[in-house]
Assembly symmetry: C2
Homo-oligomer: 569 residues x 2
């Protein structure tokens, strides 16, 4: 492609003074351009990269026996109502009505569409398993778009849906897809962590994110020192060491406690360790139920875990007014002890206790009265939680749950994810069954698997760049060679370009009327792995100059050797 004819204009600056490297470089190199916020044109040179990424994904998905198809983009709303995702979904679903007032959803993921397809077939156990995938535009009405392609409102996703006879059969596919994804990302130049994470609005029991480590990523996760355990902050488990369990429970007493509302105020006043204090946090759910979450004083409440244990999709913090009026307690002095006796009649309160409260005896904390604290509070004896489990937030340095060392905090870009769905969809959508060997209809067991194409492109740029620009891995580079012609050697350069084209080497040929400096800067910015320069100087030696983008040195190569150029470099 002759750059003089290519729809590509690099720029030295980006309009919004972008700080995120991939966003900046992709915009400066004219790979992408924003239309409305979070919705991008993928420009010709960007589209070449996007297609190469999709092609690698397709190769590996096909090799794993998956089958490509495509579903409509407008999903009948009634399907989403069957699974209740119109209510459970966190981000705003985009809806559209047709002229007959039928409502549709602009798909963010397509579980309902694939289940609705599959249930129209009278499937037998012999037809199982299968894994159907598509590359298709997805829509997420994100509150904030950010970082170029890192968080957008419209993007192409490779989404796959697998259907199985049972859990055991699904497990085989799930493990296979872990390997397939790892290989895909590796081929694309990305090392990924496979990280346990939260299912969120997708549903199901467990899932994993594929995360590329990066400071600009939005995913915070932990890995254990040995690397065996990896989990997203939302779900990470850790060991809660036993504290003073050998102590005898003492009598519950109420004491005057003129102190501030902070945890440290309690520590100072009573001269007792933080871990012995009870931390109380009050939330409100969508049904206006109050949730009192209690946890050992040295831990924090993990809201995702709390939501999951409560099976709710959103929570907010209660205000001080609500605590006083509805719960009849006192901010800073809340206690699970006796709290249910004082409630306003209409108030519904659920006490959720973290299991860390079983590692201490004789805890202390508020009394639901201002400036009065309780000492020697003990679970079961003094209060009874409605729900007990793990609602604790993991932190760096905590012991990994599997004894594989301390947790190390990481940050990264989620480029893919895989989900166990189990019976989550097939139990809600009538007819999502197969006929088993015993002649009985049984629910389909499902999984799903996604890769965001644009975000993957951004992740590649985040990992492969230097100060001057992008350094594309060969496999996704938009062109194989960047050919630059300098000062009045146009004829020779044209011939070389034609030769390379005949050799089916995809070449970007900078034949523009620009300075050497401008051409070199653009070549570095665009990031094609091999740069060839032809000039009067090189032609004197009957040679051209070659430079590998990621290396510093250039070398001269005899014009004769052009036929084996790809082998030389």
């Amino acid at each position: 492609m002759r750059l003089s004819h290519y729809f590509l204009k690099t720029s030295k600056t980006v309009p919004d003074n972008d700080k995120i490297v991939s966003s900046k470089l992709l915009k400066q190199g004219d790979f992408i351009r924003e239309s409305s916020a979070g919705r991008y044109y993928i420009l010709p040179i960007g589209q070449k990269v996007q297609q190469k990424i999709m092609s690698i994904i397709k190769q590996e998905m096909d090799a794993a026996g998956c089958q490509e198809m495509v579903s409509p983009i407008l999903h009948p709303l009634k399907l989403w109502q069957e699974t209740n995702r119109t209510n459970t979904i966190g981000f705003e679903l985009m809806r559209v009505k047709d002229r007959r007032n039928t409502e549709f959803v602009l798909g963010g993921t397509a579980e309902e569409m694939f289940v609705d397809l599959v249930r129209q077939y009278k499937l037998s156990y012999r037809d199982l398993p299968f894994n159907l995938y598509q590359f298709s535009p997805k829509f997420r009405d994100e509150l904030r778009a950010r970082g170029g392609l890192l968080r957008v409102r419209e993007f192409i996703m490779k989404d796959a849906y697998s259907f199985h006879r049972n859990k055991e059969d699904f497990k085989i596919e799930y493990e296979k897809m872990k390997k397939v994804y790892t290989k895909i990302f590796k081929r694309l130049g990305l090392e990924t962590y496979i990280v346990e994470s939260d299912n969120g609005y997708i549903g199901g029991e467990y899932c994993h994110e594929f995360i590329v480590e990066s400071k600009v990523g939005e995913s915070k996760f932990f890995i254990s020192e040995s690397g065996k355990y990896a989990a997203h902050e939302d779900v990470a488990l850790f060991k809660k060491e036993i504290k003073n369990k050998s102590e005898k429970p003492k009598q519950l007493i109420k004491v005057i406690a003129k102190r501030g509302p902070k945890m440290q105020d309690g520590v100072k006043l009573h001269k007792l360790p933080l871990w012995q204090q009870i931390k109380d946090v009050v939330f409100v759910d969508k049904k206006n139920r109050y949730i009192l979450a209690i946890i050992r004083g040295d831990f924090d409440v993990n809201e995702v875990k709390l939501k999951n244990i409560l099976k709710v999709t959103s929570l907010r913090h209660a205000s001080n007014e609500e605590i006083k009026k509805d719960i009849q307690s006192e901010p800073g002095f809340i206690s699970p002890v006796g709290i249910k006796d004082k409630l306003n009649k209409k108030t519904k309160l659920i006490i959720v206790a973290d299991d860390s409260l079983r590692t201490v005896v004789n805890s202390y904390g508020g009394s639901n009265e201002k400036n009065k604290d309780l000492l020697n509070v003990n679970i079961d004896r003094d209060y009874k939680p409605d729900i007990e489990g793990d609602i604790a937030l993991a932190k760096a340095g905590y012991q990994s749950i599997d004894n594989s060392g301390k947790l190390v905090e990481k940050q990264g870009i989620e480029v893919g994810n895989i989900f166990q769905l189990g019976y989550h969809y097939s139990s809600k959508m009538k007819g999502a069954v197969y006929v088993d060997a015993d002649g009985k209809e049984k629910l389909l067991y499902m999984g799903c698997y996604g890769i965001g194409i644009g975000r993957t492109m951004a992740a590649i740029v985040e990992k492969h760049n230097d100060k001057k620009g992008i350094i594309w891995p060969k496999i996704v580079s938009p062109f194989q060679i960047h050919l630059i012609a300098l000062n009045n050697v146009k004829d020779k350069a044209d011939k070389l370009y034609e030769k390379l084209t005949k050799m089916k080497i995809d070449t970007l040929y900078d034949d523009r009327d620009k300075t050497a400096g401008e051409k070199f800067a653009d070549a570095d910015l665009i990031g094609i792995p091999i740069r060839i320069v032809i000039s009067k100087k090189t032609l004197k030696q009957n040679a051209f100059e070659i430079k590998i983008r990621k290396e510093l040195n250039t070398k001269l190569i005899s014009c004769k050797r052009i036929n084996s150029i790809l082998k030389i470099v």
Copy 2:
């Protein structure tokens, strides 16, 4: 691909008892399946065909110097307001709001998006021309979906947009795209007519449809006997032969005419030829203006031509009540003579005369009074049209405008179209300019070019089938070979399948537990060009049986010759 593992189940019937062959066969062969009306899943075997079609299109577009990219699917509504297409568009645009209440359009075509992109670059004349294209989902809220993929509400379109310095430069591209399209369709097994047609909501001055002749198509068009002239019914021109022009104009007279309201009633009563009578048709536009369209009695009014000459997007017939009350005339006795003198004060009436009225003198017709006719009506002397031009509907047998013989009526499927847009968009969208050699900013001159992928697939099936099923042209066939294993030769068949796979021959292997009859019927239905059967019988002769889908005979080929199988057939 082993059919036993493939997501494909053929069926003997189609649910809605489809009469359109392509719809029936594509559904029975499990290439497509309807989701909501007019929105289809393209199933794995259909997706293979769709991708092959897109790949051929891409090859030819790239070879012609066009550049692939992709624009967002959600178009900011404000862009469509700039061009006023929110008002001019015939079909209902689908609109969607995001959580911030910003409105978007689900694109049916993407002119505004590409102009909005291009105007952000400071283009110079040196950057021109260029042609940008994309494959992307398009949405049309059609009143009726029909015929499987023939008329749908959601489909993938290849849409291209070219930008030029001027008309002359555009013309070169337009003629080039005619050739490119012809070649694309020819490679896909489709002979196309290039037919002048109406621009409709796209705008611009002229355009051409690429039509595959077919009885199930919705496009009615004419070609002249010599084949030189081809035009859609909406725009077809023809020669209006001179009638009695040599006669002297006689005096206008009003006569009693107790007759019915039909044209033939006048002919009978006055014993004068039909062509001498004036045909009057009254329409109403969106602004409630009345339009009196008048034409020679032997012709009919072409509503598309009438709309274009009036520059309106929709018209409806006036009711008898409206004619009586607002126009103060009489249905069946309408006349242009003196009609404007009688109008209700608030009524606005525009008289549009077809130029055929210049081929006659001493016409006759109504008088705006019941049971009274006027004889010897002459244009200019007795009435003055506000607009005069061609508003006549062409019919088979009429003389082609270019003297290339009589018009022959044809029907077909519109698979592609190309449009001159000229300054239609650049004059409406501010900043759609380039800097010319003289340093001045000038408007971009544009064209656009579309191909519907699904409809092309349907057209291929319409042209390539027999009673038993589809007969795919090799180039778009989902697989190269359909391998069938019969009665207990599974081991040998498996080996043959593995051998073909190693040879990179894409094979659909029917390894299912079905009868020979069922397997043969499915092979014929699915329509892969080469069928290979391996059975006990063939193996006795150390051979396999080969059959070309479109031929009747089978032949035995020695197993040894498998290596050159694609050359043999």
